[in-house]
Symmetry: D3
Subunit: 259 residues, 6 copies
C-alpha cells in the first residue's frame, strides 16, 4: 500500500513517515468538468492532469493529492463556454479559496514542495491568486514552496512537430483536439469515441470577447479545432515527455538560489 | 460508455441526452482528506461516499458527479482534529462556495434532482448553507430540488444490531471504527491494514469543546473507538442497506406534495 | 454596580479592573429569534442561553457579554424551518464573522477565558468556524482559550430520567418541548402560555433533508414534540444542574495540560 | 403578553397576527459595547437605543427587535478609540452582513416598515450599506421600506438650549457627556456613577485622523467632554422629545409619494 | 521628470530613490464619479482631491498616487443619491478592499507616510475600515502610518467667513455648491458652466433617511444648495488655505509621541 | 465641454443626454501601477490603455470612463513581479469587485455598450470574473453588453512586421519593451527616458512558476526584453492601427446575432 502515489490511499501514519523521511513533492492536479466535444468525456481535464501528475510522481518519489475536479468557468475561446450542458464550474472565489486552503494545510504537514498541476486553461490566474494568498497567510518564514504549471507547457517543439507533421497550429484552439484526444487515447482509451469525432474547426475568433458570450462563435459540437489525426502513440509520446520534463523541473526547481 | 454512472466519463452530448430524456438524479459525494487511524487511508470519507453514491446511482439510473475530496476541518470529537499530519481541510467559506456553485450549475443543466451524499460528519452544516445560498441565487421558480444526506443515517437499527452483537455504541465515536472499516473492507480491501488496528478507545470527551483543541483528549492513533470486529461481510451488509434505502429515498423524496 | 454579572452594565474601568485582577471567564450567550410554538416566545434560545450563562457566571465569578440574539437559519428537523413568520436568522458568514470578531476583541482585552454558550442547535458549526478563524487571526502565541458548549449537554441522564419519567426521547425533537418549556417556566414564567400548548408531535422525519424544505413535514404549530408535562420545578432542576456543571467545567477546563 | 413591544417576548403566532393585522413598524436598535468613561456602562449605546425604540414603539403600536449589541470600531474623535479595555467591536463586513440579513428576513415576514434606530455614531455608514445590499437582494418589487435614524437627530434646538443653558457645544464631542449621561439617569439611574464623573474635556482634535490611532489625543478617562450638569430631568426631557418626534416620523415617513 | 509630484509619471527607479532618500509622504486622492448638478462635471470629487493633493505635495516634497476615481454610493442628503444618471459608485467591500490593498503595498515599498485625501463625503467610513484592515494585515511592527482627511476640514472659519459674507451655512448641503464650484473655477475653469447654475436649494431634509431613497427629496438638478456667488478668487483662497494647512499637518502629524 | 471623450468632464445632464440620444459606447481603461524599467513610468499601463481608449472613443462617438489605475499583482514572467519598489497592486477580489460594480452601474445608466480596455496582462481573468458576476447580478434581461479586450491584440502581423524588421519575438516578453516604449514615445514622449534604456533581455524562463517568486529570474532593471529600436513613429503606427481596429470592432461587435 505504501508505494502508491495516491495520497488519499495512504494512512496518515504512512503519509507522515513519507513526509518526514523524504520530503516528497506533493502534486495537486486541478481539472474541470467541462464539455470536450462528443468524443471526449466531461472530466478530461481532471483525468489528464491527474494522470500526468501520477506519472511524474512515480519518477520523483512524489505523491498525488486528490484532484480538484471543478474548474473555473469555461470561456468560448478556450473551452467553448458555459452554455454547454454538463460544463460545471466554480466562481473565482471558490477556486481561489480551495487553493489557498490547500497551501496552508500542506505547509502545516511540514511539506516543503507543492506542485500544482493545472489541466484547464481557465484556472491559471485563480490558482496564482490562491497560492499568493496562502503564502501570505503563512508569512515570510514559511518553508513551503509552490510550483505551478500547465502540463502542456512541457511539450517541446520537437515533439509537437512529430505530432503535427503539417505544423503545430498553436495551443490557442487546442480544446478537445489532437493533444487532449491523443493523451486520452493513451491514458483512457475506453473513454474516447473516435467514431464521433466532429469535423468542426478551426474556430475563428475576433481579437475581443463579448459578454454575455456569443454562443454562435463556437461550433455546436464544442470542438474548437479538429481532433483528426489523434492516436494513442502520439498520446504516449506526449505523456512521456511531459512526465519526464516535469520530473526534471521538480528535481531542480525547488532549490533556492544562494543568497 | 454511456451506461456508466460516473458523470465525468460521459461526453457532454451523452450527459445532455440523459438529462433531457430521463431527468436522472445526480449524486454529488462529499468527503474529506482526514486521518482515519493507521489502518484506513486518508481518503476514506471520499471513497465511501462515492462508493455508496455509485451503488445507489446504479439502482436509480442516476449519475455520480466528481467527489468533493476536501472537507471541513476535522474536530477532535468526531474526526480526531486538525493536528494530525495528512488531514487536509478547507475553510467553511470554501466548502459553502463549492456547493453553492454546484447547485447553480446543475440547475443550469436543466437537472431537477441533486443528491448531496455526505461522508464526513464535519461537512454537514456547510453543505446546508451552500445549498441554501445556491437555491437563493436561483430564485423561487427553480425546478431543481436538492436532497442532502449523511449516508450512515440509512443504516437501520436491525442491521446495526447485526453488526454490533454487543449493542451499537452509537455514531458519536464512529470514526475509523467498525462501520467505516467494514465498509472499506467491502469496497477497497487492499487499502485496509487490519494488521495495524489500534486498540484505542472508546475515547471519553467532556460535554464541551476547547479551542485551541486539546490534542491530549484524542488517542495518538486518531482512532476514537476500536475497529475490532470489522469484516467485509458486515461491510457489504451495511453498504447494501445504505444503497437500497438511499435509492428508495431518491425514488420517492423528490415528489413535491400537492399544494 | 460592580457585582453584576452583566458586562454591558460595567464601566470600562470596572471591567478592566476585573479582567486584570481576576482573569474572569466571560460567557457569550448565542441564541436565535425563532419560532418556538404558540406557547413560547421567539427569543427563547437567547433568553435561556443568557439565563444559564448568568447563573453560571454567578458561581464562577464570571461575566456575561451581550447575547448574540440572531442565530443561524432554522432547519425543519431541529427548529421547524425558515418558513415561520417571526423566525429571523442570519447567513453563515454573518454568524462566523460575529464570533471571529468577538474572539479577537476579547483577546485584546487581555482575557484568557471565553465561554461561548450556545442555545440554538443550528448555530454550532458556525460558532466553531468563527472561533477557529478568530484564533488563527490571533496567531499561535495567543493567551485566550475558548470553550464552546451547548448548554443542554450538561444535563445528566439521571436528571433527564427525573424529568421524563416515561423515558427521555432524546434531544433530536426537543424544540419548544419539555426541556425548553420547563426552563422558560423557571426563568420567565410570564412569557409562557401553558394554555396554548399544542398536541403536535412527535414529528417523524425521513433520514434525509430536502431543499427547498418540505414545510409539510413540520407541524403547523412549529412544535416537534409535545411540551405536556413541563413545569417550573423541572425547569429549576435542569437549570441548576446545567449551571452547576458548567461552572465545574469552567473551573477545570481551561487548565492546559503540562507539556 | 401580547401587548409587549419586545418582539422576542412574542410567540410567532402572536407576532404573525400583529404583522398581518396591523402592519406594525419594527424598530431594530443598534448599539455598541464601548467605553463610556468611568461613570457610564459599556452597554450605553445599546441601552439607550433600545430604550428610545421601546418608548417610540409604545406610541406607534410598533415592536422592538433584539438589539444589535456590538457596533463598529470606536474612533478616537467620537468614541475614544479601540484601545480601551472593554470596547468590543465588529468589522464592517460583520455589521453590514447582520443588517443585510435582517432586512431580508423582515421582508420575508411580510413586514412593510423597518426602523433602524442607531445609538452609536460609528455604525451609520455600515448600516446604510447593509440596508442597501438587503434591498438589492429583495429586488425592485419589495414592499419593505427601511427608515434609518440616529436618535439624537430628533432633539430640537429648543430642547438642546434648555439642556445646555450656556449653549449647546454640538454633537461632535458628545460621547459619555451630558446628553448620554442624562438619558441614562432617566432610563437606568442605577447604572450611572455620578460620583465618578471625570473633569476631562473638551477634547481638542486636529482636522485629520492618524492610524494607528494616537491614543494620546484622547483623555485617559475616555470622556471627550464633561458630563457635569447631567440630570434625570434633562434626560427625560430629551427622551420624551426623541420618542415623540420619532413616532411622528414613523407615522408619516413611510407614505410613498404619489407617482 | 523626477521633480513631478505624480507618482505614475516616475519610473520605479526614481520612485525607489525618492522613497529611500527622502521618506516622502505619498498622498492618495479618493474621489467619486457622481452628479454635481448641471454646471460641474461628474468627476468633480476626484479632480478636486487630486488637485489639492498635488498642491500639498509640492509644498512638502510629497508624491501623489493615482486617484481612486470611483467612490461609495451617493446618498440623497450629501450627494443627491444613486438615481442620477452618470453617478457610478462602488460597494463598500470594493472601496474597503482597494484601500486595504494600497496600505499593504505602500508599506512594502518602505514608505512611512501615507496620506489619504478624501474628496467625497460618502467615502469616509469605508476608508477608515480599509486603513484599519490594512494595518491589521501589516501587524504591530509596521513602520507605515496613515493620515486620513477630508480636505474641506482644513478650511478655517475666517476663510469661510470671507467666502460666505452672509454667513457660512455649514458643510451639510455643500454639494455642487459655492465651495466646490469656486474651487473648480480655480482649478478647472473650462469644466464649469456658470451659465447653467440652477437656483435650487437649500434642500430641506427630515432627521432620518428612507430606503429605497426618496428621490423627491432631492432637487431635480441634483444641487442641494445654490452655487450663486462662486468665483475663482474664492476658489484660490480656499485651495491655498487647504494646501497650506494640509502641508502643515503632514509636516507635524506623523511624529509619534515620545513613549 | 460636451464634445470631450472624458466622461468625468461631463456634467450628469450632458452625460444623460448623450446616453439617451446616442447610446454611445463607454470605454473603461484598466491599467496598473507597475515597474516598467528605468525608462518608462510606473503608470505606463494606465496611460496607454486610456490613450488608446480616447483615440478609439473619438472615432466612434464614445466616452472614456475614469481609468482603473491599480491592477492585479505583477508576475515575474509578464511584469517582473511584486518585489519591485513602486509596483502597487490589488488582490483579485478587489479588481473583480471594482469591475462587477462598474458593470452594474453602467447598466443602471441605461448604457448598452461597455468596452473594457485592458492594458495590463495580469488583469485579464479578473476582469472576466468581474464582468461575469456583474452580468449575473443584472439577470438575463439586461440590455448591457460588455466587450473586453487587450489593446495589443489589435496589432496586425503586418504592422508588427514593420515594427520588428528582424521578426516579432512575440508578446510574451513585451514588458517595457519596443511596443510599450514606442507607444509611450508617441503619446507621452516627456515621460520616456531613452538615455536610460537597459540592455537586459530577452529573459529566459522555465515552463513553470515558483512561489514565492524567484526574483533572480528577472533582470534587475525589470525589463524582460530590450526596448532598443523604439521610436515615436512606430508608436504612432501601432496606436493608429489599434484605435482604428478597436473602432471597427466596437462598430460591429455589439450587434447581436439574429435568433
Amino acid at each position: 500500500m505504501t508505494d502508491t502515489v495516491w495520497m488519499n490511499q495512504l494512512s496518515w501514519v504512512d503519509y507522515q513517515a513519507r513526509v518526514q523521511r523524504d520530503q516528497p513533492p506533493v502534486l495537486l492536479p486541478v481539472g474541470a468538468l467541462e464539455q470536450h466535444g462528443p468524443h471526449l468525456p466531461l472530466g478530461t481535464d481532471g483525468l489528464l492532469s491527474s494522470a500526468v501528475a501520477a506519472d511524474t510522481a512515480a519518477r520523483v518519489g512524489g505523491l498525488v493529492a486528490p484532484t480538484l475536479s471543478y474548474g473555473y468557468k469555461s470561456q468560448p475561446k478556450c473551452g467553448g463556454g458555459q452554455h454547454f450542458c454538463g460544463t460545471t464550474s466554480v466562481d473565482a472565489a471558490t477556486l481561489i479559496g480551495q487553493v489557498r486552503d490547500a497551501v496552508r494545510e500542506f505547509a502545516r504537514h511540514g511539506l516543503t514542495k507543492l506542485v500544482i498541476v493545472n489541466g484547464h486553461y481557465e484556472n491559471q490566474w485563480f490558482l496564482i491568486e490562491g497560492i499568493d494568498l496562502g503564502l501570505r497567510d503563512l508569512g515570510p518564514g514559511a518553508k513551503l514552496q509552490v510550483m505551478r504549471l500547465e502540463y502542456w507547457d512541457f511539450m517541446t517543439p520537437d515533439t509537437l512537430g512529430d505530432v503535427f507533421p503539417d505544423g503545430f497550429p498553436g495551443f490557442a484552439l487546442e480544446h478537445a483536439a489532437v493533444l487532449e484526444t491523443s493523451m486520452m487515447l493513451h491514458y483512457h482509451p475506453s473513454l474516447v469515441r473516435m467514431d464521433l469525432l466532429p469535423d468542426d474547426g478551426p474556430a475563428d475568433f475576433p481579437p475581443y470577447d463579448m459578454y454575455p458570450p456569443r454562443t454562435d462563435w463556437v461550433p455546436a459540437s464544442g470542438v474548437l479545432s479538429s481532433a483528426r489525426g489523434s492516436d494513442a502513440t502520439k498520446g504516449r509520446l506526449l505523456a512521456d515527455e511531459v512526465a519526464r520534463r516535469m520530473a526534471e523541473a521538480i528535481a531542480s526547481g525547488f532549490e533556492r538560489p544562494a543568497v
